[in-house]
């Protein structure tokens, strides 16, 4: 698990001894393994939803408010739909959308951060002041305002979250590019006549990948939470879409029928914790001393 080296005051264990370990890294990190398993399970469920779900998620064909039973594992909702099928189909919204918006945020933030770090001059302050502005708001309030003014639907919710999420990447990438830009190997490749663009793409970006992957994995967790939160508030997915957050929202209106909110919430929780397990282990692995652990903006979620 956490492999902080035993703090001995005097010695670093000899390299030969340190290398002799059994099995791939991931097997010695149970949390990473669990996270990976749950995450993959949700991918499979999302792909194979029609095969797994016993009923049509939109079909209002059952008795209302049935508690969980053999026929309806998670019961039925206020319109007589099968909650289990809706939860299964919900993965088709949350998982791909989270991936999409993290990809967009990484791209946007990464490019702006790299430009800011590389060209400095006027680009840097402009980009950094923009990130300040975004950071001045709690994520959900900004996302809420943006979604509301663009019109409440799931596409705008994704867009709003991208707007909230990109600055974290911009800052991380900018910091790394700044420190790498001064490092010897980049300087020397410049001396050898590489153009700015080639230096950026060939020398700097590969070194930025590790921290960004960690951030993105943890951000997948946040993205799912934030998206569910917006939908919960009625600003994301609209009825009758089977979206986890909006299902919990309906559940709060009928909370005596506990199954309506509990199971979709459990789905959110399991997907989020999967990416948190994975991201946390990944961070430990890339940075065993934990120097950057829990630093930066960290998670901010509904």
């Amino acid at each position: 698990m956490t492999t902080a080296p035993t703090p001995t005051p005097v010695v670093a264990p000899p390299v030969a001894q340190r290398r002799r370990r059994r099995g791939p890294e991931v097997l010695r990190r149970p949390l990473a393994l669990i996270g990976l398993a749950i995450g993959l399970a949700w991918f499979v469920i999302a792909i194979a939803a029609p095969l797994i779900a016993p009923y049509d998620p939109l079909a209002q064909e059952f008795e209302l408010f049935q508690p969980p039973s053999r026929d309806h594992l998670f019961g039925t909702d206020e319109l007589g739909r099968d909650v289990f099928s809706r939860v299964i189909y919900g993965s088709r919204l949350s998982i791909p959308l989270a991936l999409l918006l993290v990809a967009l945020a990484t791209l946007l933030g990464g490019v702006l951060g790299a430009l800011a770090g590389y060209f400095r001059s006027w680009v840097d302050p402009v980009v950094m002041r923009c990130t300040d502005l975004v950071f001045a708001f709690p994520a959900i309030i900004l996302a809420m305002v943006v979604t509301a003014s663009l019109g409440p639907n799931i596409r705008n919710a994704v867009l709003a979250i991208v707007i909230v999420a990109w600055p974290a990447y911009a800052r991380v990438v900018r910091g790394l590019v700044l420190s790498l830009g001064d490092s010897e190997f980049v300087q020397s490749s410049r001396l050898l006549g590489s153009s700015s663009r080639r230096a950026l793409v060939r020398d700097i970006l590969p070194n930025v990948a590790g921290p960004v992957v960690v951030l993105a994995t943890l951000d997948l967790a946040n993205a799912i939470l934030l998206l569910a939160g917006l939908s919960f508030l009625g600003l994301g997915a609209q009825p009758p879409d089977p979206e986890w957050g909006s299902m919990v929202a309906v559940g709060t209106q009928y909370f005596q029928y506990w199954w309506m909110g509990t199971f979709p919430g459990l789905a959110i929780f399991s997907a989020v914790i999967a990416f948190n397990f994975l991201g946390d282990s990944l961070r430990d692995w890339l940075d065993p001393r934990g120097a950057s652990r829990d630093r930066g903006r960290g998670a901010q979620t509904p």
Partner: protein, 321 residues
């Protein structure tokens, strides 16, 4: 009278797989009122061997052997009892005065907290005692110094304060781990004079750890030389420094810039890298760097040879008179 007798001390720490030996079969005795010097390069186990006595090694370190301090075995005793001896009977001064003070606590707090804990002294009395000690280690305006913070003092001043802190409980043994290494040469001399004076005034025993034999010759009564987690030579300091019997001690002395050395003679460093834990050579740990090594040195652990007050671990004994 012997104050501290260390017998067959072994220290090892766990690593990813297996254990790493840091100190191996070390024995020595510190006489009351004497300055006992421990010399050696970094990685030779000199610091670890004293930290082990005080129970200050990280969790997981294994310490075996015996260390009788005024009759009680420090190694066998319960940690809670050891803690009561540390600080109260044994004072410790660390190598780097820039890092050994808590940066956010006032000097006064750091000079008095252990007296108050060990003796239940009142705040005023502890403060008075701290003022007296600061005065003794020549800190100007000691009263005001107590209300200041470590970063407001220079390195030399801090080391004086560290010595005052180690002495405030009136210990019988002061352990000083490279107390002058991090300091300017001019400041070094002052600290050494201070240690020497305190020792005389207080009948204090001192363990002085340093890699610098020049420092040793100035203050040590007895001297032991560590190499590769083992003792290679020990005896009365003047004799050891005048006529070393182990090639390693000789090499250390040759590597020393010496004012008495005739002009034009070349400083000789010791060839090869120092042995590091986990890579102790077989046989005599010093043989890969030794000019006098013979075939047996590669395979057989050298026996300890006793000659009067002197001990050394070199059967070749190339410097016999």
């Amino acid at each position: 009278m012997t104050l501290l007798a260390v017998e067959d001390l072994h220290v090892s720490v766990p690593t990813g797989d297996g254990r790493l030996d840091l100190v191996d079969s070390v024995s020595y005795a510190v006489g009351e009122g004497r300055v006992f010097g421990i010399a050696g390069e970094s990685g030779s186990g000199k610091t670890v061997s004293v930290l082990a006595l005080m129970g200050l090694l990280p969790r997981g370190a294994s310490v075996t052997g015996e260390a009788r301090f005024a009759g009680d075995d420090l190694i066998a005793m319960r940690p809670s009892r050891l803690r009561k001896i540390c600080g109260r009977e044994i004072g410790l001064v660390f190598q780097d005065p820039m890092t050994s003070f808590h940066p956010m606590l006032s000097v006064g707090r750091q000079l008095t907290e252990h007296v108050r804990y060990h003796y239940g002294t009142s705040a005023q009395d502890a403060r008075a005692r701290a003022v007296a000690l600061l005065d003794e280690v020549r800190i100007p305006d000691p009263e005001a110094a107590l209300d200041r913070y470590p970063h407001e003092f220079s390195g030399g001043m801090r080391q004086r304060i560290a010595i005052a802190s180690a002495l405030v409980c009136e210990p019988r043994l002061l352990i000083a781990d490279e107390p002058t290494t991090a300091l300017d040469v001019t400041v070094q001399a002052g600290i050494l004079r201070l240690l020497d004076r305190l020792r005389r005034d207080r009948a204090l025993s001192v363990i002085l750890i340093t890699h610098d034999l020049g420092v040793m010759s100035a203050v040590a009564d007895d001297l032991t030389v560590f190499y590769g987690g083992r003792i290679v030579e020990d005896g009365p300091a003047p004799e050891v420094l005048q006529a070393p019997r182990h090639p390693y001690t000789r090499a250390l002395l040759d590597a020393l810039p010496h004012p008495e050395l005739e002009r034009g003679s070349v400083l000789r460093g010791i060839p090869g890298p120092a042995a590091q834990p986990g890579h102790w050579p077989t046989g005599c740990v010093f043989h890969p760097r030794c000019d006098h090594a013979i075939e047996a040195c590669r395979t057989e652990e050298p026996p300890t040879i006793v000659d009067g007050a002197r001990r050394f671990a070199c059967p070749v004994d190339p410097f016999r008179r």
